[in-house]
């Protein structure tokens, strides 16, 4: 089972390697990890998607909390959370199929951010299902390159973690 953890950490040298190292040596699997500074420049926020049952999740959470640079760990769950991921997809495109690809992009409210004679780059934002869907639809054209930010997530409503 997948869990999305929001981890507030000190915005300091070496913190990412502490967190990544913890996952590696305790044998936990990370699906994705996104990190960036928060509204408070001394704090960074990591969004970590981790696979495992409740026992694994409990251990991950406790072990993360043991790291001195980790300020807070919250399991976001899924129900009252908005989740997004940003993906850039470079797809084969020529005069013949360019408009078809643009139509697909349009349906997904994706943006075309680069057009060349033989390729296009599409920027798409969404949850996992949406990204999977557009990826499937673009595959037949030939995806040359793809990069994703990893999932980021916030709780709905006025409360913060």
């Amino acid at each position: 089972m997948k869990h999305t953890l929001a981890v507030l950490v000190e915005n300091r040298y070496g913190v990412l390697s502490r967190v990544a190292g913890l996952f590696a040596r305790r044998g936990y699997n990370i699906d994705s990890l996104a990190v960036g500074v928060t509204e408070d420049p001394t704090i960074s926020r990591m969004t970590i998607v981790v696979r495992g049952d409740d026992l694994v999740l409990e251990q991950v959470t406790k072990q993360l909390n043991k790291l001195i640079d980790v300020i807070r760990v919250t399991d976001l769950g899924t129900e009252d959370t908005v989740e997004r991921e940003l993906v850039l997809i470079k797809v084969n495109a020529d005069v013949k199929n360019r408009s078809e690809i643009m139509q697909i992009a349009d349906i997904f409210r994706a943006k075309i951010i680069d057009v060349a004679s033989k390729s296009m780059i599409i920027e798409v934002t969404g949850d996992e299902n949406k990204i999977k869907a557009i990826e499937q639809l673009l595959k037949p054209f030939g995806i040359k390159e793809m990069v994703r930010t990893g999932k980021i997530a916030l709780r709905r409503g006025p409360k913060s973690i």
């Binding site: 950490v9 040298y13 409990e58 251990q59 406790k62 909390n65 043991k66 790291l67 001195i68």
Partner: protein
């Protein structure tokens, strides 16, 4: 009132911080990148013990910490100096021992260039430190030193490393030592949740077959008195782990001895039949639980630990209580009563009579267990430090410890070569106590160079080598599980230990007969000098009883050999 700041170099600031933290002794080895720190040490009030290998500096700091409860400090240069500390740091980490390791580093501007004697020691020690620092600004020295001592000694203790680029040690800073530590992300829980404590007390009060299972956390929290009070009030038997040895008096009628792989039969039987396990400062290590699915299947589990990550890590816990062992036990004592354990204690007494720890004494050959008994008879309040292997188990089984911090041994990591350097730290911390390093001929050769240290510094520890010509514990496993194929475990006649001791200027004694055991021990104690006793013991004696790897702990078998 605010303290006036003073200008000083980074190096002097480091020494000043040590002094402010109450450090009287550090263990180290100099080198290029720590020259300014050594220069500042030269005329400081802090004693520096020069070891002969950095690994020993870490172990000595560890021994010092285990004997006192204070933070031990070691110092090494960059690169190989720092990497040599690694085994010692890992040893301290696995047993939750508070040490601060200071390492030199190449100047900031050269980091990452593969400079001479550069090693990424913060990266290397990431998984074996509670926390570590790479100093990047000399002005941070006082704050980081303060934090390091705080982190090492509070919560679940552990090693903290500070890597110090050389250029920062010559920079001038305004020295101001902070009085408090501000770490928003680090707030260990000390007080146990009172509702949980009451629930635990209810469970204890109605249990008819409780067992208290105490680990090293009882010793590090200085909770032994509370442990004893709890056991006596409830009338519950107590078993300890290897690192918990000394937390409860061995001669106490409620004591079951050690549990687990080489524990007593009655401790293991009691655990397996219990209806309630009260775990205090212990972590259900695999050497304790044996086959985890068969461990105490009928027991509810109360787990008292300062580290929430230990709760339900290995064994499902019914009533977790996160907090300092002393504080939690003190609170728990208010709510517990005598439990209905009369029948249980009778049953245990029967097991104790039927299955005592025993060995068959030798007329011609020296039995290792006999040496331990003789050391105890000769000096009941000796502090016993051990290496790792058979001798370690015999020391835990046969020495009758009566107080905490008198059995000092590498439990979690199982580090051969730990004992001798650790005994240096112990003896310096406790100069009035007789300190024995119980050793094997294998383990001793891993750090025998420290004979030079104990002679130069006149640290009169007594090394008792249980010389059986084998890497005995591995040989025992080969005998039992590999059809006596003693693959590379015979080390017989590799060295004349008496001559080795004498070469360094220590006293060397050789003992080949049982009748010579006691006189040699007494001579060593009386000599007041660093002394090595080379006991030629029964070569193929086994540690008994034993739970085979992967078996349930009640599947414990006798292995004793005939005289």
């Amino acid at each position: 009132m605010t303290e006036r700041t003073e200008k000083m170099t980074g190096a002097r600031a480091i020494i000043e911080c040590l002094y402010r933290e109450g450090v009287d002794t550090i263990f180290g080895y100099p080198g290029g990148q720590v020259l300014p720190i050594y220069d500042a040490l030269y005329d400081s009030k802090i004693r520096h013990v020069l070891v002969r290998h950095e690994q020993s500096a870490a172990h000595a700091a560890d021994g010092y910490a285990r004997a006192t409860g204070k933070v031990g400090v070691c110092l090494a240069t960059s690169g190989p100096g720092a990497t040599n500390l690694v085994t010692g740091i890992a040893t301290a980490y696995m047993d939750s021992i508070p040490i601060v390791a200071l390492t030199g580093q190449v100047p900031l501007s050269m980091i990452g260039n593969d400079a001479f004697q550069e090693a990424n020691i913060t990266g290397i020690t990431l998984p074996i430190t509670k926390h570590n620092y790479l100093l990047q600004d000399a002005n941070d020295i006082p704050r980081i030193m303060k934090e390091a001592f705080h982190i090492a000694s509070t919560g679940r203790p552990g090693p903290v490393l500070i890597d110090i680029p050389k250029d920062l040690t010559t920079e001038l800073i305004d020295f101001h030592y902070p009085e408090t530590v501000k770490l928003r992300s680090y707030n260990p829980t000390y007080e146990g949740n009172i509702q949980q404590i009451k629930k635990a007390a209810e469970e204890i009060n109605r249990s008819s077959k409780p067992v208290i299972y105490a680990g090293g956390g009882v010793i590090s929290a200085n909770a032994s008195e509370y442990l004893r009070a709890l056991a006596e009030k409830v009338q519950a038997p107590v078993t300890t782990t290897l690192t918990g040895m000394g937390a409860f008096p061995v001669d106490h009628p409620l004591f079951l001895g050690m549990l687990g792989m080489h524990g007593t039969k009655y401790a293991n039987y009691a655990i397996q039949e219990s209806d309630l396990i009260i775990a205090v400062g212990a972590r259900f290590d695999d050497r304790v639980t044996g086959k985890i699915r068969s461990f105490a299947t009928n027991a509810k589990v109360i787990h008292i630990d300062v580290d929430p990550a230990e709760i339900s890590k290995n064994v499902r816990v019914d009533i977790p209580i996160v907090g300092n062992a002393a504080k939690v036990l003190e609170d728990l004592l208010k709510y517990v009563d005598r439990a209905p354990t009369d029948d249980w204690l009778q049953r245990i007494a029967h097991w104790k009579r039927s299955y005592p720890l025993h060995y068959i004494g030798g007329m011609d050959n020296i039995k290792p267990q006999y040496i331990i008994e003789q050391i105890h008879d000769a000096c009941k309040d000796a502090i016993i430090v051990t290496e790792v292997g058979q001798h370690q188990m015999w020391a835990a089984q046969y020495f009758r410890f009566s107080e905490p911090r008198t059995f000092i041994s590498s439990g979690g990591l199982g580090t051969m070569g730990f004992g001798f350097p650790a005994s240096i730290g112990v003896k310096i911390a406790k100069p009035d106590r007789v300190v024995f390093d119980i050793s094997g001929d294998g383990s001793f050769q891993m750090n025998s160079q420290e004979l030079a240290t104990v002679v130069q510094e006149n640290i009169p520890v007594i090394i008792a080598i249980f010389n059986n010509g084998y890497l005995g514990m591995v040989r025992q496993w080969q005998e039992l599980f590999f059809d006596k194929r003693y693959s590379y475990t015979c080390i017989r006649n590799s060295v004349d230990f008496v001559k080795l001791a004498e070469a360094y200027g220590a006293l060397g004694l050789r003992v080949k007969q049982p009748s010579e055991v006691r006189p040699a021990i007494e001579q060593a104690i009386a000599s007041g000098r660093p002394t090595l006793i080379d006991f030629w013991v029964e070569c193929e004696e086994n540690v008994s009883p034993m739970v085979p790897a992967g078996a349930a702990i009640n599947e414990i078998m006798d292995l004793e050999r005939k005289a």
